[in-house]
Amino acid sequence: MNGFRTLFYKETLRFWKVGFQTVAAPVLTAMLYLLIFAHVLEGRVQVYEAVSYTGFLVPGLVMMSVLQNAFANSSSSLIQSKVTGNIIFVLLPPLSYREFFAAYVLASVVRGLVVGAGVLVVTLWFVRLPWASPLWILAFAVLGGAILGALGVIAGIWSEKFDQLSAFQNFLIMPLTFLSGVFYSIHSLPQFWQEVSHYNPVFYLIDGFRYGFLGVSDVPPLRSLAVAATCLAVLSAFTLWMLKRGYKLRH
């Protein structure tokens, strides 16, 4: 096995070993959102013609789970390794900074996809989705997972304590995901907030992902794809630059 494959395997095995907490728990959380919001809003909110509110909500919830869990995977692994000191085990071997980056981000994508698939399977009981274009679904899930995985690497390396990481999570990741149109269409917002939403990259991830299921979206999916790809490129470049410099890892 080469170093990258081992690190990727280890990062995947790590979350799988505590699957109850890393997979089952977020699936349950998404279920609760679905039960409550669908119960309250079904029949009252209609975003797209011929799409029930539950049908609108489910893809958003799935994508939100993908994103949050991708972020959680790399960030929590890194902060734990740093705080306990076992990060040394991956710093001593001849792993390049690129391998390091790829392994953490890819494992994040896997965690995101596993949780997303779990949410999807459970919600299938509640709603039938048209599955308009599965390739878009996969493309946005992978891109979104990678973006948040890279953000998780940045946050995990930058944070020195758990509360700094949770600040990153609570003040950046949570607002970005909750204000991205998971629970509503941004067209229902006042003009000002609609425009603000267009500066939220997560909005494009949710919107494009939803397009894959419903065949309709707030913005054209190609534009969302372009935004997502650009975000990933910029964040990856930044993360690689951090890792190459050894920021907070190699003094």
Binding site: M1, N2, G3, R5, T6, L7, Y9, K10, L13, R14, K17, V18, S81, T84, G85, N86, I88, F89, V90, L91, L92, P93, P94, L95, S96, G246, R250, H251
Partner: protein, 301 residues
Amino acid sequence: MSSPAIRIAGVTKRFGAVQALAGVDLEVARGEFFGLLGPNGAGKTTLISALAGLVRPDDGRLEVMGHDVQADYRAARRSLGVVPQELVFDPFFTVRETLALQAGYFGIRDADPWIDEILENLDLTSKARVNMRALSGGMKRRVLVAQALVHRPQVIVLDEPTAGVDVELRQGLWQFVRRLNRDGHTIVLTTHYLEEAESLCGRIAMMKQGRIVALDTTANLLDRVPGHALRLRLGNGARLPEGLAVCAREEAGGMVSFDLAACDELEAILRSLREAGVRVEDMELGRPDLEQVFVQVMRGA
């Protein structure tokens, strides 16, 4: 000519206001058992970290088996195994998983036979399937040693491996490390137990405030302190003859002590005591030890 196991040239490192390394030059030949001693904060761990690529020096060069630790980091890290000072472990995995992963990071396939051998040698076989969390401190220490060896490095650095370790494990560990050294591995050891360094290391460097202040073979270092220390307890009420009293020191517990440059001085002292009719109740002859050298070097530096 083959390169030395370790070559360190002009290495400096500053952490904020602290000059952790103030220009270190050092070469360790292949196959040596080398000791790196110094008080806390002398820069030993920083030097090891720089060698392992965990710390980037401000200036200077470091090589392991001829490979620059920055420019040729892959080859350098493959040649180096480090047992860290802190008792770190990953609570997600068992002992065997920990070792298999570590081997994998180094790109090693089919590490199992070698892992079995290391487990056997470190008396860990029965713990192979146990989660790291469930191990005692001494066991965790052994796993750290095992982890440093999974990629069969030519150079092995042990940073205070026996801190807080019981006697049995310590002896077992040294036996194993000695064997690795006999098999051709270069060993670098830092420790606070000077008697360990004295009995194991062929050559020793002493560090203080980021500099090497003494570097010599263990034998030469021991020669720096005057020969032997003779301690005597005299019989009730007895006094030293005048000729001897001037060069003796009174110690606690009614002992007197002499510094002997050579063993034959002992005969002269005993003869004059016999002639003066002084009875000797107890006698100790101490060898010069590394601790005396260490104290002297640290005071002088």
